[in-house]
Amino acid sequence: MKIVIVGGGKVGFTLATQLTREGHDIVLIENNREKIARMSGLLDIKMLYGNGASLGVLREADTHHSDLLIAATHQDEINMMCCIVARKMGCKNTIARIRDAAYLEQMYLLKNELGLSMTITPEQITAREIFRLMQIPGFLKRDTFAKGRVEIVELVAKPGGLLDGISLVELSRKLKVKVLVCAVQRGEDAYIPDGSFVVRQGDKIYVTAPSTDLAALMDDLGIKQHRVRDAMLIGGSRIAAYLTRMLVKSGVRVKLLELDARRAEALAEYLPGATIIHADGTDQNILREENIERMDSVVTLTNMDEENLVVSLFANKLGVSQVITKLNRTEYTELFAGSGLDCIISPKQLCAQAIIRYVRAMQNRDGSSVLAVHHLVDGKVEAMEFNVTESTRNRGIPLKDIQLKPNVLLASIGRMNRSILPGGNDTMELGDSIVVVTVSDRVLLDLNDIFAEEER
C-alpha cells in the first residue's frame, strides 16, 4: 500500500521502519531538514521537506493516490488539519494522533466531519496497557489475540521457582492448565523452544494461554496473586492522569506524586478520587515517607527516562512486587536485563503497534490474511494472527504431518468461539484464526509462508 506519514518524530520513525519492512511504500513529510538528512540514510523511503498540513506538500507526496495518511506530528491541530486536507484530496483512510484530552471528547463528535478513520492517543493506550498489567500482577506483558480469547503473557523465571531448570515437556506435565511456551529470551538472544528446551533462572518466557486460564496458571506456577489495592504513580504526566482515572474507577487507592505545584493542583481538580502529593518523586525520603515499600504496585511516569529508571530500581530494591517503568527510548532496554526491571512500557512502540494493527486490518480487507501482530522479546520475535482462507494449503492435515519452516511455531488455533492449543493431531480448517510465532527477521505476509515445502 502507499502510505503517507506526517511527522518524523519517535512514532513516525518507528512506523516508517516497521511499515517499509512489511512492504509498504512510505512517503514521510517532516519539517526539520536535519532529521530528513539523518533518516534518509537509515530508511528506504521518500522524504519530503515541508509542512504536512499544506496542500502543496501533500500533493507532492501523492496523497490523493495513497491508501492511508498517518498524522503523527507533536501538534494535535496540525494532525487534524492534515487529515482534513488529505480526506478532501481523496485519501481514503486517515489516522491522527491526538494527545490533548480536551480534544478527545469531541473527537467522537467530529470524527466524520474531520474525515478520520482512527484517532490514536499514545498516552491513553499506554495507560490502558499499564492498567491491564496491573489487573494480573506477575505478568510482565500481555498481548491478546483472537478477539481477546487468547493471550500471550510474558513471565520471568525466578531463581528457585518452579520454572527454574525445568524442561518444557516436564512443565506441561506439572501444570494443570494447558499452556504453550512459544518464545524464550535468554540474555540478548531469542529462542523458539521445542519440548526438550530447559528453562533457566532469569529467562523470560512467553506463554500462550486462553485468557480464562491465566489466573489458574499463576496458581500453578506458585506465583502469589493478589489484587493490586495500593498503587503509587510517580510523575503527573498525561499517562498518569488517564491511568489514575481507570484505577480509581476499579477501586484501587492511588497515590500520585507530582513535582510541579500548578500541575499537582490541576490534577487534584481533575482526579477527585486520588491522593495527589506535591513533592519530588525522585527523593528517597519522600518516597519512604509515602510508604513506597508498602505499595502493591509502583509506576514511574516522569518525562525523564533516567529518573524513571532510578526510582524503579529503588522500588525494586525495597521489594515492591510490581514495578512498571515507562521509557521513551527503548534502544537501551538490553542493558537492564537482569537488573530486575522487567516491566518496561514504551508509549511510542505501543502507539506504532496500534497503527500497524490497523494497517494490517486494512490489508486484510484487500485479501491478505494477517489479522494482528505483536512483538515479543524487544521485537526479536513476532506473534502474528492469520485467517485460514481458501488459498491456505495443508488444510485438514494433522499438524504432525506438516513440515514447518525452522523457528516457526503454531501457538494457537481459534475455531468458532474457543481456542485450541495445537497438538499433533489438530488440523487447520477454513475460517480458523491461527497464531504463529516466529523470529522477526523473517517476514511472514501470508499463512502459506510458514510451510517448509515450496509452493507447487
Binding site: 502507499k2 521502519t17 517499509t20 519492512r21 511504500d25 512510505i26 512517503v27 531538514r33 534518509s40 540514510g41 537509515l42 530508511l43 528506504d44 523511503i45 521518500k46 527477521d441 523473517r442 517476514v443
Partner: protein, 484 residues
C-alpha cells in the same frame, strides 16, 4: 567498515559483468574471431571464479552498512570492474599493454570515450561491441543495475542500497522518484532502455546495419562517445548526424524529467530551471558557433548542423565529432572547452560539473556581489521556487573548489610528459569531465597513445573522479576511512 559485505557486493557485480560479456563472446564465436573468443572466455572465467569467492567465501557477518561503506564499495567496484573489463582486450591481444587496457575500459565505464587506439577500425567487432557496451552500462551506473536486478531481500531496512545508489548517482541531491530505491532504479533503467531502443530504430531507418546502430547507440546513450571509425561521425550521412545530435541532447537531460512527463506532470517537468538553463546554454552556444564558423562551410545549414552536433557532443560530454573542430576559430574552440566544464544535467548519463551546480554557483556569485554592496541584506538562493538550503550551497562551492584543485594538480603532473599546455589542459579537462576528445595533441582526430603510463593512470583516475563525483574515489585514498 564491513569489508565482507563490500566484497560480497563486488562479487555479485562481477557476475553481472561476466553475464554481459556473453553477447560479445557470441559475436566473436559467430565471426570466428579466435583471439577474442579466448580473451572473453578467460575474462568470464576469472570474473565467475572471483565473484564466487566474494559471494560464497565472504558472507557478511554483520549487516551494518554506513555512508563510508557505500563510498568505499562504489569506488572499489568501479576500479575493479574497469580492470576486469579490460582483460578481454589484453588476452585477445587487441590492446597489448595492460595499462592501455585499463585506460580504455575506464574510459568506457566512465562514459568518457577517450581512446588510446590509433586505428579503431582495426579492432575485432566483438571487442568493439564490448568497448561500447561498457559505456552503456556505465552511463546509468553499474551498481544501480545490480541493485535493480538482484533478488529482493525480505528483511532489513536496506540501508546498504541507499548508500550505494547515493554514492553512485551524480547530482547535488539524490531525488527518489518513488519511495523505494529499487523501484526508482528500475524506472530509471526502463526509461534508459526505451530511449536506447528508440535511437536504434531511428539509426536503422537511416541505413545503418543493426550492429553499427547498436554500437553507436550504446556510445550515445551513455554519452561516452567511442567511435567505430577514427573520424567518428564525419563520414556518416547528415540524417544520422542529426539523429545522433538529438539523442545526445536527450540523454544529457535529467531523467526525472522523463519520469514526470510519463506521469503527466507536464508543468513540473518543463518549468525546471536546470532544463531551461541547459537548453539556453545549448541554443546560445550553437548560435554563436554557427556565426563564428559560417565562413568555413558552403551553406548556413551545414555550419548549423556541425555547430549543433559539436555543441551537443561536448555539453552532453559524449565526445563524438562530425568535423575536426580543432581547426575552428579560437572563439568556438573556447566555447567548447567551457561547455566541457558545464557538462550535462544532474541525473543524466553525462558528466562535467552539471548544469544545476552551474546554476547554483551563478546564484551564489550574484549573492556574494550583492552582499558586498549591502552587507546586512539577507538573501536566499532558490531553484524552481524552492529554497536551496545553505548546506547544499556550501556543498556545491566545496565541490567546485575540490574540482578545480584536482584539475590544476593533474595538469601539473601530466606536464611531466612535456606536451604543450593546450594539449595537457584539455587532456585533463576532457578526461575529468568524461568528454573524450580535447584540443591540440589530444584533438578530435588524435588520441591519448602518446602519453606515458603514469599519465594514463592519472587520467584514468581523473575519469573515475569525474564520473563518481570525486568523493567515492577520494574516500579510498583518505586514511581516516580505514581508521576505527
Amino acid at each position: 567498515m564491513n569489508y565482507r559485505k563490500i566484497c560480497n557486493i563486488i562479487g555479485r557485480i562481477f557476475w553481472v559483468e561476466a553475464a554481459f560479456m556473453l553477447p560479445p563472446l557470441g559475436i566473436a564465436v559467430y565471426r570466428g574471431e579466435h583471439a577474442s573468443v579466448r580473451g572473453f572466455l578467460i575474462a568470464i572465467a576469472l570474473l565467475a571464479v572471483l565473484g564466487m569467492a566474494g559471494v560464497f567465501l565472504l558472507r557478511p557477518r554483520r549487516d551494518s552498512f554506513y555512508a563510508r561503506d557505500g563510498l568505499m564499495t562504489v569506488g572499489l567496484a568501479w576500479i575493479l570492474v574497469s580492470f576486469m573489463g579490460g582483460l578481454p582486450f589484453f588476452f585477445s591481444g587487441s590492446i597489448p599493454s595492460l595499462v592501455d587496457c585499463f585506460f580504455e575500459t575506464v574510459s568506457g565505464f566512465t562514459t568518457t570515450g577517450a581512446s588510446i587506439l590509433p586505428a579503431a577500425e582495426d579492432m575485432p567487432l566483438s571487442d568493439m561491441y564490448w568497448r561500447c557496451f561498457t559505456i552503456w552500462l556505465g552511463g546509468m551506473g553499474v551498481l544501480v543495475f545490480v541493485l535493480a536486478v538482484s533478488p529482493k531481500k525480505g528483511s532489513a531496512t536496506a540501508g546498504d542500497e541507499i548508500h550505494l545508489l547515493r554514492a553512485e548517482s551524480p547530482g547535488v541531491t539524490v531525488d527518489k522518484l518513488v519511495p523505494r530505491m529499487r523501484q526508482s532504479a528500475t524506472i530509471l533503467y526502463t526509461i534508459y532502455i526505451a530511449l536506447t531502443i528508440l535511437q536504434v530504430i531511428f539509426l536503422l531507418s537511416g541505413g545503418m546495419s543493426l550492429y553499427e546502430a547498436l554500437v553507436a547507440t550504446y556510445a550515445t546513450a551513455g554519452t561516452g562517445g567511442f567511435g567505430m571509425m577514427n573520424d567518428s561521425f564525419a563520414s556518416y550521412s547528415p540524417y544520422i548526424q542529426v539523429v545522433v545530435t538529438v539523442f545526445m541532447l536527450l540523454f544529457a537531460v535529467n531523467f526525472n524529467v522523463y519520469f514526470l512527463l510519463l506521469i503527466r506532470e507536464f508543468r513540473k517537468a518543463l518549468c525546471n530551471q536546470e532544463l531551461i538553463a541547459y537548453l539556453g546554454i545549448v541554443a546560445a552556444s550553437i548560435a554563436v558557433i554557427t556565426w563564428n564558423i559560417s565562413h568555413m562551410f558552403p551553406t548556413l545549414a551545414e555550419s548549423l548542423r556541425h555547430a549543433a552536433f559539436q555543441v551537443a557532443s561536448i555539453i552532453s560530454t559524449t565526445g563524438f565529432m562530425s568535423t575536426d573542430f580543432d581547426l575552428w576559430p579560437e572563439l568556438s574552440r573556447t566555447i567548447l572547452i567551457l561547455l566541457m566544464f558545464v557538462g550535462a544535467c544532474a541525473g543524466s548519463t553525462g558528466g562535467g560539473l552539471k548544469v544545476i551546480r552551474v546554476v547554483i554557483l551563478a546564484k551564489a556569485i550574484r549573492r556574494a556581489v550583492l552582499q558586498a554592496v549591502r552587507p546586512n541584506s539577507v538573501r536566499i538562493i532558490r531553484v524552481d521556487g524552492a529554497v536551496v538550503d545553505e548546506d547544499t550551497v556550501r556543498g556545491t562551492l566545496n565541490y567546485f573548489a575540490v574540482f578545480m584543485a584536482i584539475q590544476f594538480l593533474s595538469v601539473l603532473l601530466v606536464s611531466i610528459d612535456n606536451f604543450d599546455f593546450v594539449t595537457n589542459f584539455t587532456a585533463v579537462a576532457t578526461c575529468f569531465n568524461n568528454v573524450g576528445p580535447g584540443l591540440g595533441g589530444v584533438g578530435p582526430t588524435r588520441n591519448f597513445a602518446a602519453y606515458s603510463d603514469f599519465s594514463k593512470l592519472l587520467l584514468s583516475a581523473n575519469m573515475l573522479l569525474g564520473r563518481l563525483e570525486l568523493y567515492p574515489i577520494l574516500a579510498i585514498f583518505v586514511p581516516s576511512t580505514y581508521k576505527k
